[in-house]
């Protein structure tokens, strides 16, 4: 072969499907996450809550056990959307926040710090695949500790309650999936955006925690001083409360303080935060670096 023909030629063979390339990033990122013993412990502790609630539902429907505890079925509260919100969704929201706080801000920064982006993006992986691969890790793990056990609880309750309980409470599984996914995706994208700016893992975690804490306190302060809905726009948790109450069809009086905000604004708030974070991410994740 002539020497000039040995020059670089791009690969022209068949490419694997785009989703399988995304899943490669997902697989390696997941393996990285499970290298932390602290996270493994946290993950299994998170599963204790649905286990406990499963036992509680079993006891709720077991008359003999109830009578042993001197409790009559009339003394017990009805299991409905409000009960699922208080017992399951609210604690799960906190667990999801802790999960994202622990692993979210550290997912992008090592790749940026060690100049790995050109290596990723020189392969047939684009920015969207890269972000999706990383995001899938958090969605997968978050789902395992939130709506997946939530659905199991729902079907257990439906099976034990019998009658028309399933038909009357069909909003619960939809609410569980939508609320958890909105919270996971929005928080994860914000965490990734922080991670793309702050290169040190510990500083990135602190920054993410600070941003979320600051936004909620600032929102509360603005609401108290100025009133109106403007304050809730910066408070992500307020949006989540509104969305949760609406989707679960829960009693806001029993849930405590729920902002009087339209659910459309809450959805818009999640979309705005996610889009802003995505913009930052696409701006930061590039196949080249400008060296000053």
């Amino acid at each position: 072969m002539a020497i000039f023909l040995k020059a670089y030629q791009g690969y022209s063979g068949p490419l694997s499907p785009p989703m399988s390339r995304t899943l490669v990033i997902f697989r390696y990122a997941l393996a990285d996450v499970f290298q932390s013993r602290l996270f493994v412990a946290f993950f299994f502790i998170s599963l204790l809550l649905p286990l406990f609630l499963m036992c509680a539902i079993y006891v709720y429907h077991n008359l003999e056990l109830l009578l042993q505890f001197d409790v009559t079925p009339e003394d017990l509260t009805t299991i409905n959307g409000t009960a699922f919100t208080i017992a399951m969704q609210i604690p799960q929201n906190s667990l999801l926040f802790l999960m994202v706080l622990g692993i979210g801000p550290t997912m992008i920064s090592p790749d940026l710090r060690n100049n790995a982006m050109p290596l990723y993006l020189s392969r047939p992986i684009n920015t969207a695949s890269y972000i999706s691969g990383k995001l899938l890790v958090l969605i997968f793990l978050g789902s395992l500790i939130s709506w997946v056990p939530g659905l199991l609880l729902f079907f257990l309750q439906a099976y034990l309650a019998g009658g028309g309980w399933l038909g009357d409470n069909l909003q619960i599984p939809v609410a569980s999936i939508l609320t958890s996914l909105s919270w996971i995706i929005c928080l994860s994208l914000v965490a990734f955006a922080v991670s793309a700016f702050v290169k040190l893992k510990s500083v990135a975690r602190m920054t993410f925690f600070g941003i979320i804490l600051l936004l909620s306190v600032t929102g509360a302060v603005i609401e108290d001083v100025f009133g109106g809905l403007g304050a809730y726009v910066v408070n992500l948790y307020a949006g989540l409360e509104v969305l949760m109450t609406y989707l679960y069809n829960a009693d806001s009086d029993l849930l405590g303080f729920v902002p009087q905000m339209d659910v459309g604004i809450a959805v818009l708030q999640f979309l705005t935060f996610s889009l802003l974070a995505l913009l930052v991410l696409t701006w930061r994740i590039r196949a080249f670096q400008v060296v000053a």
């Binding site: 500083v203 600070g210 600051l214 306190v217 001083v225 100025f226």
Partner: protein
């Protein structure tokens, strides 16, 4: 080297004999370096943003003609002082000073370890006590200058809707100076208390987020803690010093605030204890950059 220079060096030699004079010069030298690093580095940018947030809220409140409820933001000067007390307690003290101290003091040692530059200090003939004290004083000065200025500017902005006449009247009657002095004192004590704790945790924990989240959780839930546990909360002692007592909400466990001298000496005691603990930790520090 000329003979004259040699003679000059010999003449200076007594200054290198260990003693209070040398320690003081070393302390001043380290203080100057650390104060510059805390105040003008890129990491300080987060603290500037934090300090600007309450100023922005007060500036909007000062120039806003009416709130979302239809009435003026500040109905009277008494109402304005109450609102200032609330914002100071919730936003400035509970969030800005807390997060700012976490950012400033955690990076004093952990930041150096992450930047792989702590060995430069450890290789110099400087006593660990001098190093810790100088770094702590630098962090404290930086925190107090930033958050003290933030408090003063917010307090002045409070008077903007009421005109200079009100400010001069309050200054001459002593109300404004007394209240501002109290707020500045609380800010100093908060920087001292939180700062010393975060400096120690920065050396103790490889991941500084864990102590920050734990302390934040403890401080935000202090109002529901029983009286025996409340005394271990920094914010409980600081809120007891506020010129206008704040309502802690319906769930709060009502307890009389601690005496002023207990709060002040409690903070000084905490500061001495944790700085001593930091010195102990630094004396036993073995840096392995590869582990970070």
């Amino acid at each position: 080297m000329s003979n004259g220079q040699l003679a000059a060096d010999y003449a200076r030699a007594p200054l290198l004999i260990p003693g209070p004079s040398l320690w003081m010069r070393q302390l001043v030298a380290i203080f100057r370096i650390e104060f510059g690093k805390s105040f003008f580095s890129r990491r300080a940018f987060a603290c500037y943003v934090l300090a600007l947030l309450p100023i922005l809220i007060f500036a909007v409140a000062a120039f806003e003609e009416g709130d979302a409820r239809g009435g003026p933001v500040f109905e009277s000067i008494e109402n304005a002082r109450e609102i200032f007390g609330y914002i100071y307690s919730a936003l400035i003290l509970g969030t800005v000073v807390f997060l700012g101290s976490a950012s400033i003091f955690t990076t004093l040692f952990r930041g150096e370890i992450l930047d792989r530059s702590i060995h430069y200090y450890l290789l110099t003939p400087v006593r660990r006590e001098v190093l810790v004290t100088a770094k702590y004083l630098a962090g404290l000065s930086c925190g107090f200058v930033l958050f003290g200025l933030c408090t003063i500017i917010c307090f002045v902005l409070l008077y903007l809707p009421f005109g200079m006449g009100q400010l001069v009247s309050d200054l001459t009657s002593g109300i404004a100076t007394q209240q501002l002095g109290q707020y500045l004192g609380i800010t100093l004590l908060a920087c001292m208390g939180y700062g010393s704790v975060f400096m120690a945790t920065g050396l103790l924990f490889r991941n500084p987020l864990i102590p920050i989240v734990l302390i934040a959780g403890w401080e935000t839930t202090h109002f529901i803690l029983p009286p025996a546990l409340k005394i271990f909360s920094i914010i409980y002692h600081l809120k007891g010093l506020l010129p206008i007592p704040m309502d802690e909400g319906p769930l709060a466990v009502i307890v009389a605030p601690p005496p002023v001298w207990v709060s002040i000496f409690g903070m000084i005691g905490l500061c001495l204890l944790t700085v001593t603990a930091t010195i102990f930790l630094l004396k036993h520090l073995e840096v392995k950059y590869t582990d970070e």
